[in-house]
């Protein structure tokens, strides 16, 4: 049992209390950053992006990038990115308001800092690939960089976030070896399916809807 002052001082007790402090602090600062509903919605936006890309931009073309495709493609996926970030922000704001807290927190800033390098690198590479008409493997690169970004966030988050990051990295590595059309469907599986699975799991298991 723990800790009365009249007990013989014990080294083990000091170790035990230091461990308790470390574990409690660790547990207290873990954060999912993507709620259940946000995960489900982000997945839906991604699937919508894939369908628009396939049927509205490329039509019957076999994903051969023509000059006229670049801006529509960039516009669709920038829109998906914007709507997804907005969804996550609004859901986090709702969750924070429910407990009387502000949506911007020091932990949130740390998560954004962690995600920023890989995310920025992904954006820069996207710009380069689109500008040079090299769209064939863009899907795999997106998964890789997004996965790296999520893995960084996972260092400050609950375990499922790290799993999600690794799932994207592995899927991205596989997608690089697939045909462009298969890569696009992998976008639906990963950005769509992975987020939906993550959202459902987070909502059901942790009650963070």
């Amino acid at each position: 049992m723990l800790h009365t002052l009249d007990e013989e001082p014990r080294l083990e007790e000091a170790f035990e209390n230091l461990r308790l402090i470390r574990e409690t602090m660790d547990r207290s600062t873990k954060h999912s950053s993507l709620s259940g509903f946000a995960g489900l919605l982000v997945g839906v936006w991604a699937i919508a992006g894939v369908l628009v890309t396939r049927f509205c931009i490329f039509g019957n073309d076999s994903l051969v990038l023509r000059p006229g495709h670049v801006w529509p493609l960039a516009a669709v996926w920038m829109a998906v990115l914007f709507v997804s970030i907005l969804t996550d922000f609004l859901m986090n704001k709702r969750a924070a308001a429910a407990v009387g807290k502000h949506v911007f927190s020091s932990l949130g800033a740390r998560l954004a800092q962690a995600a920023a390098p890989a995310f920025t690198a992904g954006l820069a590479l996207t710009g380069y690939l689109l500008a040079n008409g090299m769209v064939a493997h863009i899907w795999g690169y997106w998964m890789l960089f997004y996965g790296l970004s999520i893995c960084s966030v996972g260092l400050f988050s609950v375990k499922p976030v790290s799993f999600l990051g690794w799932a994207f990295v592995l899927a991205g590595a596989i997608t690089l070896f697939l045909s462009p059309i298969a890569g696009l469907w992998m976008m639906a599986v990963t950005f769509g399916g992975f987020h939906i699975c993550y959202g459902a799991f987070t909502g059901a298991s942790r009650g963070e809807w």
Binding site: H3, L5, P9, L11, A14, T24, R27, T29, G100
Partner: protein
């Protein structure tokens, strides 16, 4: 380090042990509040795996010692209670942590 030095260091460290914090539940509460900042009752209860009654008793003890402040308000017409470590509480926690570290260090040097 000689046996006498070791004994003196441990004695000094024990003097710094704060009885209010030197209890598993209260130590957990303080660790959570120092790490996360302001937190509500439900978060503390879930994080530490405590019952309402047990948590309330220990929070009251920390509040009595002026180590935490309580904020009660209505959020969406529902009562909401949150807690935050005071500067005094954070300083006491730091002292406690330093004392534990000294004990551990002394133990290692004594081996």
């Amino acid at each position: 380090m000689s046996a006498i030095d070791l004994s003196n260091t441990i004695s000094q460290s024990l003097d710094d042990i704060d009885e209010t914090i030197h209890q598993k539940v209260r130590l957990g509460i303080m660790s959570a509040l120092v790490a996360r900042g302001e937190s509500d009752f439900k978060f503390l209860k879930d994080t530490l795996g405590l019952t309402d009654g047990n948590l309330s008793i220990h929070l009251a003890r920390l509040e009595e010692a002026k180590y935490v402040t309580v904020r009660k308000e209505f959020v969406h017409k529902k009562p909401h209670t949150s807690y935050e470590a005071t500067e005094e509480g954070k300083a006491a926690f730091d002292r406690y942590l330093s004392a534990l570290e000294r004990i551990v260090k002394s133990g290692r040097l004594g081996k």
